[in-house]
């Protein structure tokens, strides 16, 4: 094969037209000109294609019905998306695998961590909010930088006390803002309100979710399916809530004036989602509203 031939075959861009310099060069043949024109067209098409694909990532954000529940210590949604480097180190340290990475349907949020509380909530079995510790970019942070404002009602009145380490010298979690608030979204299906008890596996035999039970093992979470309940009046959400004073069963007045029992959420609620995960009715009577703030 001759040198000329190989030189021609090689090299994208080896025949690029440069109008600014064409003065010194011999004029291009018609065929060359046409080739160059086609290449410009192709290049523009590729530019459009790639940019189109990139920008389309905005659509899922614009049309999102519901915000994702983010891991503890997450910055506000916009800042969270801009600062997350999508490495999944938070996923790797979580002892109950509560954190998942979002897929293509999340657009710009692809690869960004979220928690599906109903499937697996964060129960703080790591004691120290390990995901925050693992984050290399400050997307999850113990202390929000000063230039980022705290939404009213997002700040916790006091550092939350983790019931599991209540007897430790330092019983609190290093969290200053809630990631959401639990709401009794379907009171009509709540067993406590109906005055019913609950017996059996909270979420059935096939549920894969895990939780730490202090009376079983402080450092080893077990499957919820392996920890059946038998309670005369259902109070699983209160019983398993990891945060002190975040929820309790109270006697309240029903709309028709009669008295009844009901779970009531209080200010210390951080929005971890354990109540939503453990709620034995389907769909859950209590749910986390992500990014929700405390309204008294």
């Amino acid at each position: 094969m001759s040198e000329d031939n190989s030189a021609q075959e090689v090299g994208p861009g080896s025949t690029a037209p440069e109008p600014a310099k064409s003065g010194g060069k011999p004029p291009m043949s018609k065929e060359r000109k046409q080739q160059a024109r086609r290449r410009v067209l192709r290049t523009i098409l590729l530019t459009g294609g790639v940019l189109g694909a990139a920008i389309s990532g905005y659509l899922p954000l614009a049309y999102a019905q519901k915000q994702r529940l983010r891991p503890p210590g997450a910055l506000d949604e916009k800042d969270f998306l801009s600062s997350c480097i999508k490495c999944g180190q938070c996923v790797q340290v979580c002892p109950v695998q509560a954190i998942k990475l979002a897929d293509l349907v999340d657009g710009f949020g692809v690869g960004v961590p979220y928690i599906d509380a109903r499937a697996q909530a964060c129960d703080f079995s790591c004691d120290a909010v390990q995901c925050i510790l693992a984050c290399p970019t400050g997307s999850l942070t113990y202390h929000k930088p000063e230039f980022l404002p705290v939404r009213p009602g997002a700040a916790l009145a006091a550092k939350p006390i983790l019931i599991a380490k209540e007897k430790d010298p330092e019983p609190t979690l290093n969290m200053h803002e809630r990631i959401g608030v639990a709401r009794l979204t379907r009171p009509e299906s709540c067993l406590a309100i109906q005055g019913k008890g609950f017996k059996g596996q909270a979420r059935g035999p096939n549920f894969k979710g895990e939780m730490r039970y202090m009376d079983v093992d402080r450092w080893k979470p077990i499957k919820i399916a392996d920890h059946p309940y038998d309670v005369p009046e259902c109070d699983l959400c209160v019983r398993e809530c990891p945060i002190k004073g975040a929820i309790s069963i109270e006697t309240v007045f029903a709309p028709n004036g009669t008295q009844r029992k009901s779970p009531v959420v209080h200010e210390p609620c951080v929005g971890c989602g354990v109540c939503e995960m453990i709620c034995p009715v389907e769909p859950a009577a209590i749910e986390i509203v992500s990014r929700e703030v405390w309204r008294s």
């Binding site: 290049t43 790639v50 920008i55 999944g88 180190q89 690869g111 970019t137």
Partner: protein, 327 residues
């Protein structure tokens, strides 16, 4: 450094940004190289020697195999660190911890800084570590020795070249300046929108996460890119689009690890340019173009070693700047 090499150094940076390589003027070619060029012109003995060498050339895959093993092992280390909880290399290619030390991909780190407009210590530590590492180990070596998309694209390229040989498809080259334009656009998009827009389509990040955390729909985008490269444009993503490549290219400008071209034994057959991802860096091997007896290959080179494997005369070799003087 001779005037020719000095000019070439700057010229190769412009070539990396997308300009076409230019022919050197004769005055800038070192006298020693001029003698070699002259000797090669119309030399019948040389032609006979060339034909002989070609007939006996054996195809090696030494560097390619080393590279593939490195690339696969490195990506596997991410996977097993998580799957078996051995904590050697935690995270993904975008950001990780190597035995506890932060490592942050330079392009991803840059995107985050531009989008978030706030820099935290861990990010700077991780980026500095990687900056020093890749400055030492050849900038775009990241692409060919670590990036999982590079490996898939190499396989796709084999299919593409087979189809080209069968005359079923033709390579549709694009304007190489596009990559620099993309780099700027994605930097601006991050700055203006506050989202790390590029990260949502980066095949490097998508593949790395898919390997470690399990596959997802995002792989469809990677598949689309590969299909495009197989049927339409050879290695299009790495050549014309990927801003990561340009970032590491800039990092590797002063890298001591590079490919060194030795003019003397070269037959100017251009085999190296045919296997190269970035043939514009090998313009110096064209007959009469070398400005010195030894010419270092420019920063857009990914140090993949395919040319080293292919060269029948050993005229292209890995080299560490200054090492030969030290020894």
């Amino acid at each position: 450094m001779s005037a020719g090499l000095k000019r070439r150094f700057w010229d190769q940076i412009k070539v990396m940004l997308g300009r076409d390589p230019s022919r050197p003027i004769v005055a800038e070619i070192a006298p020693q190289a001029q003698v070699m060029h002259h000797y090669k012109r119309g030399n019948r003995d040389l032609i006979a020697e060339k034909l002989h060498a070609r007939a006996h050339a054996e195809h090696k895959n030494t560097w390619r195999n080393r590279r593939w093993i490195t690339l696969i092992l490195a990506n596997l280390l991410f996977v097993i660190s998580f799957q078996f909880d051995i904590q050697i290399l935690e995270g993904a290619l975008t950001a990780s911890r190597l035995i506890g030390f932060h490592a942050v991909d330079l392009n991803s780190g840059l995107q985050v800084i531009l989008a978030h407009k706030h820099i935290i210590v861990n990010l700077v530590i991780g980026m500095t570590t990687m900056l020093v590492f890749w400055m030492l180990f050849g900038g775009r070596a990241f692409c060919s020795w670590l990036c999982p998309y590079h490996l898939l694209a190499e396989w796709a390229e084999k299919i593409h070249l087979y189809l080209v040989k069968k005359k079923l498809v033709t390579d549709q080259p694009m304007d190489r300046r596009l990559r620099s334009v993309f780099w700027l656009i994605f930097a601006l998009l991050a700055l203006l929108t506050g989202y790390t827009v590029y990260e949502s389509i980066s095949p490097t990040g998508i593949l790395s996460r898919a390997l470690i955390y399990g596959p997802g729909l995002a792989l469809l985008w990677v598949a689309a890119l590969l299909v495009f490269e197989v049927f339409f444009s050879r290695r299009a993503w790495c050549r014309y689009a990927c801003p990561i490549g340009l970032t590491y290219g800039v990092v590797g400008i002063l890298s001591p690890l590079r490919i060194l071209y030795r003019l003397e034994g070269c037959f100017h057959e251009g085999d190296c340019r045919k296997v190269c991802l970035v043939p514009h860096v090998l313009d110096t091997v064209i007959k009469g173009r070398a400005v010195g007896a030894e010419v270092p290959i420019g920063p857009d080179c990914t140090r993949c070693g395919l040319c080293v494997d292919t060269c029948p005369t050993g005229s292209l070799k890995f080299d560490v700047k200054g090492l030969s003087k030290l020894m």
